[in-house]
């Protein structure tokens, strides 16, 4: 597998406090890599180190398989876009004028502005001063700025922060569509549900340490995500599925399939249907991020 970002023992210390602790990231090309962790876990600092905004205390980092140094930083970042913490903008300029400045800095033709504005659905607001934009519009403008020049890699730090539910949905849809344009997305969030709905790969960071890194599917496997089976006769269904060695469990008069593998879910449904047990509902019961942290680290964390 080709990794677009690799870090080895990446560390950031402020005096005696270790904010990022020997991080070994591997971000597959073409993925949406969700960087998950509670506030203050070190997500933004990691992204800032990769972008050269914060100097690592030690460790190795490479983007596009090239080691990032102070000398080649800008050459490497030319093919990236970023939205870190909050949108960056000039409030006295219009949305279009803001993008024109970024075009000049990125050496991208100004005709690309229309493309990115249509991607974020901001064509009608482009001539309005950014100071008059809502937070959601500013966020979308910042994303448009990040998308100028068709970068191969996008850094998005908590891109849905402060957005209303409609804005969150729109942003999520947009992020999910980016790999279709050949863009790898490195997105951070402190919300599991957020990452769960858009990422293909996940890294979980806590107190600066990477405690999990794999595909989203693997996270579900490891975190004990369970499938609730609601049937016409749960008792009979439980006996039937147990006898076929499926990972079935009974809890508070409900039966759960302790597996996220599609073939096991299909098998369970098939067995029930064949035994003439009506399936009323199949529901994924996701664990909260707190539970996953508890599962992975054995300690409670406040999110």
């Amino acid at each position: 597998m080709k990794y677009i970002i690799t870090t080895k023992a990446l560390t950031k210390k402020y005096n005696d406090k270790t904010v990022v602790d020997r991080l070994d990231l591997k971000i597959p090309e073409g993925s949406i890599y969700g960087f998950l962790g509670p506030n203050g876990a070190g997500k933004s600092t990691t992204m800032k180190m990769l972008l050269g905004l914060v100097k690592p205390s030690f460790g190795y980092m490479s983007i596009f398989e090239k080691e990032v140094t102070e000398k080649n930083r800008l050459a490497i970042l030319k093919d990236t876009g970023s939205l870190i913490e909050s949108p960056a903008y000039y409030s006295h300029l219009s949305g279009k004028e803001n993008l024109q400045i970024i075009c000049k800095l990125k050496n991208v033709p100004e005709r690309d502005i229309n493309r990115v504005l249509s991607l974020v659905r901001m064509e009608n607001q482009q001539n309005k001063k950014v100071g008059q934009y809502s937070l959601g519009m500013k966020q979308r403008l910042a994303l448009a700025a990040a998308l100028l020049g068709s970068p191969k890699l996008l850094f998005l730090d908590e891109p849905t922060n402060g957005l209303d539910p409609a804005g969150i949905l729109e942003m999520r849809e947009l992020i999910r569509s980016l790999p279709n344009h050949g863009i790898t997305v490195f997105v951070s969030s402190h919300l599991l549900s957020e990452i769960d709905q858009m990422a293909t790969d996940v890294g979980i960071i806590d107190n600066g340490k990477l405690i999990f890194q794999d595909s989203l599917l693997e996270l579900h496997e490891q975190s004990g995500t369970k499938i609730l089976l609601k049937t016409q006769n749960d008792q009979v269904a439980w006996k039937l599925l147990s006898s076929h060695h499926l990972p079935i469990r009974q809890e508070e008069n409900k039966i759960y399939l302790d597996s996220f593998k599609e073939e096991e879910i299909i098998r369970a449904v098939k067995l029930c249907v064949e035994a003439d047990i009506g399936i009323l509902r199949i529901e994924e019961e996701q664990r909260s991020l707190e539970d996953i942290f508890l599962n992975l680290t054995g300690k409670q964390v406040s999110l």
């Binding site: 949108p87 903008y89 409030s91 000049k104």
Partner: protein, 256 residues
């Protein structure tokens, strides 16, 4: 291996950022004050004033510069840097351009209107002399010395104001420093020379060795020009360069 845009492009971008900011109104206002000072305060009231009109200008303009320029420089730097602070743009800009180039372009963008007002001031001195028909000869050397010394002190003050404006979330601090600097600079003119040398804001008047003799009976002031302190200027030039790099280092070392 850097693919940062050229310095010229970055400088043009700095100018584009200033669209709709109407900086020229503020610059025009400042020039207006200089104009009033030149044509009202420097108007001759008797023949003696006419015979030393230019010398009087070279005596009083550095004084008015001590009062006005610290505030003007603080406002200019603040207006240009505040848009970056308010818009939280540094974390984006530093991924697209060299941090040092950003700082240099910003500095140059603030310095240009300041330099323009310095040239305007020199022009106003010439214009005032022509208008009131001063009897003494205008020394082009003194005019050049005034431009040079005012520019140099402005450069030093701009370094301080730029670092304060870029590092402060609230622009009150840099503006307050400019305002206090103006007062301190003015008061320093009444301090003993050795002590006055410690006040950076008072250096507008430090290089011209212009003395005056006030005759109480005739109520006539006679000015004597004793030359320009080039040695002090050279020391100040070195100090300004060092200050520039120190302030730049302070700004760039801050993580965003």
């Amino acid at each position: 291996m850097s693919t940062s845009p050229s310095f010229f492009t970055q400088f043009i971008i700095e100018q584009k950022k200033q669209r709709h900011k109407s900086h020229f109104i503020f610059v025009l206002f400042f020039i207006g004050v200089q104009f009033l000072w030149a044509f009202y305060a420097q108007r001759p009231t008797d023949y003696n004033d006419l015979t030393q009109g230019y010398l009087s200008c070279f005596h009083f303009f550095p004084v008015i510069n001590t009062i006005l320029y610290p505030v003007f420089i603080a406002v200019m730097a603040s207006r240009l840097c505040d848009m970056e602070v308010k818009g939280d743009t540094l974390k984006l800009l530093y991924t697209l351009q060299k941090k040092s180039s950003f700082y240099d372009c910003k500095y140059l963008s603030s310095l240009l209107p300041i330099f323009f007002t310095i040239l305007t001031e020199a022009f106003l001195i010439v214009l005032t002399g022509q208008y009131y028909h001063f009897k003494d000869t205008l020394s082009t050397a003194m005019l050049f010395e005034l431009i040079l010394s005012t520019l140099l002190v402005s450069c030093a003050l701009l370094s301080i104001q730029q670092v304060l404006s870029l590092l402060s979330q609230n622009q009150i601090l840099p503006l307050l420093v400019g305002l206090l600097g103006s007062f301190l600079g003015l008061f320093s003119l009444f301090f003993p020379t050795d002590f006055a040398r410690l006040v950076l804001f008072g250096y507008f008047c430090a290089f011209f060795k212009l003395e005056n003799d006030w005759d109480e009976k005739t109520r006539i002031i006679t000015y004597y020009y004793r030359g320009f302190d080039w040695k002090l200027l050279l020391v100040f030039l070195l100090f300004t360069i060092a200050l520039y790099f120190f302030c730049r280092w302070l700004t760039l070392k801050k993580e965003v």
